[in-house]
């Protein structure tokens, strides 16, 4: 069997007549089955249709395979009857062409117009999906006409191909194919992009895709979603799984999601969560959504005044990955009342044995749990802070509001309007 290294497209072959060694036509090429190759999936057999009968001819029996002629030797690899409902194989026409897939690089959903097939070693590999106008013209068998029309306007028919390693099919069967190229491509995408893609998917597929994410990515994605989409998705999951995802999320984000759920469901999920995490979330749920208490995160770095800069740095190191806000270290007394604040920069610049008391700035700007979001924003803007500490009724520190959270909240109207405008999906 010889394959040239030229690139073809699936639509060049589909529908072509397949002949045997004697030149007898066996039927038309109805579909191509793919299996995992090393890196790229390769064509493993031809599905040939004669009348109503489908037969499967393994790749081993193929003598010639090009756009002019497809010839097979049935003695080398006999044809077997093929059942179209059979789900073990992945078929180009049935499972990929015309379906939606995720373009991981462009972070969006695209429709597959055609598949690029190239010779690799001694087989044919699927190397890219064609999502452009040219692919569409090729499928309609009008590539020449369209090219001619565009050439009149001194233009080229646009090419748009996405390499196989950058696509993530939505079908669960397909993941086994793509996993050989890169592990969990979706995990490399930004959660905000993932959220947008999931919001565009039909409900069944949205659930599947969400389930395929690991809990950490799922949590980040959930936090980025529009509340109603996130709530719908979370309610469709197993309760245990949902609570695992909530545990992975920052408490303030988990609280935002839970706030939109019906009370009994929210209570149930909180009950399933790890007690410590649940308590943090519970605290946040008690505040009004647009007050400092509703916006704050209740995880922050609080250290005693006597601690040395070096010890503080070690503490920051151990906490760095689980804390959202590590730029400020708050110096608290025994009653948890704030005495001052030290920034990470000041700690790095200080002499190792200096105590926090010596380097902290005592002039601390604070807000109360019931301070309105707009007032918090004003303080953030006026003093150029990354975060503002929030005090409860007794003056003890309850949490911090980060600048980006308060910005998101206050810009919500502008952002929301843009999103709201685009809401209706006809």
């Amino acid at each position: 069997m010889s394959t040239s290294s030229a690139a073809y497209f699936a639509s060049n072959f589909l529908g072509k007549t397949v002949i045997d060694k004697t030149g007898e036509p066996l039927g038309r090429l109805h579909d191509l089955a793919m299996t995992r190759g090393d890196g790229l999936p390769h064509i493993s057999s031809l599905i040939v249709k004669k009348g109503k009968l489908l037969s499967n001819i393994p790749w081993a029996g193929v003598d010639l395979f090009n756009v002019f002629v497809i010839a097979v030797d049935l003695e080398r690899a006999p044809a077997e009857p093929f059942d179209p409902a059979e789900q073990g194989n992945i078929l180009v026409r049935r499972d990929i062409l015309d379906k939606q897939i995720v373009d991981v690089e462009g972070a969006r959903l695209v429709r597959v117009n055609d598949l690029k097939i190239e010779g690799c070693r001694d087989a044919l590999c699927v190397t890219a999906v064609d999502t452009g106008v040219r692919g569409l013209a090729r499928r309609l068998k009008q590539e020449r006409v369209w090219s001619f029309v565009t050439s009149i306007f001194k233009r080229q028919l646009p090419h748009k191909e996405i390499g196989w390693q950058f696509v993530q099919p939505l079908d669960d069967k397909m993941t086994s194919l793509s996993l050989t190229v890169t592990r969990d491509k979706l995990g490399d995408m930004h959660p905000a992009d993932l959220a947008e893609i999931i919001a565009q998917l039909p409900h069944g597929e949205a659930e599947k895709m969400f389930l395929s994410l690991n809990t950490e990515t799922a949590g980040e994605t959930l936090a980025e979603m529009e509340p109603e989409v996130g709530t719908r998705l979370l309610s469709s999951l197993e309760k245990e799984h949902a609570s695992d995802i909530l545990e992975e999320m920052a408490p303030d984000e988990a609280a935002d999601v839970l706030a939109d759920l019906p009370d009994d469901t929210a209570k149930e999920l909180l009950g399933l969560m790890d007690a410590e995490d649940a308590e943090k979330v519970q605290e946040l749920l008690e505040h009004e959504e647009d007050s400092a208490g509703g916006l704050m995160i209740n995880e922050f770095l609080a250290l005693p005044p006597s601690m040395s800069a070096e010890a503080a740095l070690t503490r920051i190191r151990t906490k760095a990955l689980e804390m959202e806000m590590i730029y400020y270290v708050y110096v608290l007394d025994e009653a948890l009342k704030p005495l001052g604040v030290v920034s990470l920069r000041e700690i790095l610049g200080a002499k190792p044995m200096e105590s926090l008391e010596q380097i902290m700035s005592q002039n601390l700007k604070t807000v109360n749990v019931d301070t309105s979001a707009d007032d918090v924003l004003e303080i953030v803007e006026k003093y150029g802070l990354w975060a503002v500490p929030v005090l409860d009724e007794d003056g003890a520190m309850a949490g911090v509001v980060t600048a980006d959270d308060v910005l998101t909240h206050s810009l919500r109207f502008a952002l929301r309007w843009k999103r709201f405008r685009a809401k209706r999906r006809f």
Binding site: L140, L201, H203, K418, R421
Partner: protein
Amino acid sequence: MPFRFITRAAGKLNRRNLFLFLSILGPGIITANVDNDAGGITTYSLAGSRFGYGLLWMMLPTMAALVVVQEMCSRMGAVTGKGLSDLIRERFGAAVTFYVMIALYLTNLGNTVSEFAGIAASLEIFGVSRYVSVPLSALLVWLLIVKGSYKIVEKVFLGACLIYLAYPVAAYLAKPDWGEVLTASVVPSFKLDGSYLAMMIAVVGTTIAPWMQFYQQASVVEKGITKEQYKFARLDVMVGCALAIAVAFFIVVSCAAAIHQQGLSIETAADAAEALKPVAGPYASVLFAIGLFNASIFAACVLPLSTAYYICEGMGWELGVDKNFTQAPQFFWLFTTSIILSAVCIMIPGVPLLGIMYVSQVVNGAVLPAVLILMLLIINNRQLMGEFVNGPVFNTVAWVTVIVVIVLTVLMTVDAVSPGIISRLIGTP
């Protein structure tokens, strides 16, 4: 008994179910109301004024067909979570989709033209020249799509649906003989006469339009209705269709009582409004004009935008009003050209508004069978729909609808191409 779900849903009338129903209410009602657009109102007015109560008996069978067709769409939407053009693309491939989309675009272009004709006609009743009203409303529609939000337009329209109450009021003011109306609406009366047949066809053609199926299914998907809540969506479709047909019914009745009884002949919905004056008083005619304007302007907002959506969805192009001309060129050009072309079309001096509306109904009818057949093939696919495929009764009703629509469409097209051929064939003098 396939319609048992009505009694079953009604049997479990409790607060929770009522609340669920209210939360799902919407898609069916809006779709059915948009359906009573300029072309629809014109057709019904003409039906009433030309044939009196003679066509009222068609309302119930037409409603049954409409319910079956729209119900299938909302079922597909709820089960698959995909739009109709998505499903057509995935089931029938690029080529079929491409040609169906071209047909859909042309159909909806015709419909959009007739919406602008409706705007022009209704404002001319108030003495506003079409050379003012049409460009202004075209600009307004375009700005609403690009800068505004369809959601808000939709809410405004839901409120404006109350304007449709104008029609029952106008019907009441026209003082029809209600006993006669009741008899006429259940007893079929049939005339073998070319213009009567053509009007029958136009009534069906305007009531079941191809874009409605896409719109209905997209609304269900967008609302996030799943198969679990599906029985409520079913009810929503029925309520919507019943409301739309009721409006149509009252338009026919008011025109029949006011115009047909006087023996006047009218050509447009605007004529109808004028003719209502002496019988039903000036208010009825103003109400009529407002109703026509409301229906036209809203449909003019929906049609170009939704068509651009379905086409881009099916072809896999970037779409969304949050994009811009460079990010989603096809999407933006599709709706912009349809608005501009339609508006320009109406501003050609001496263009026959009624002719345009009538032709757009013909094109509607020509595309409808194709869409319905694709729909039936998809909805009977067990791999896709599982237990939600059509039952035998539904399939029968649906196929009968398809065949009737095809037959009517063929007749209507024949009649549109060569007027009077039907009466010659039948041999009426």
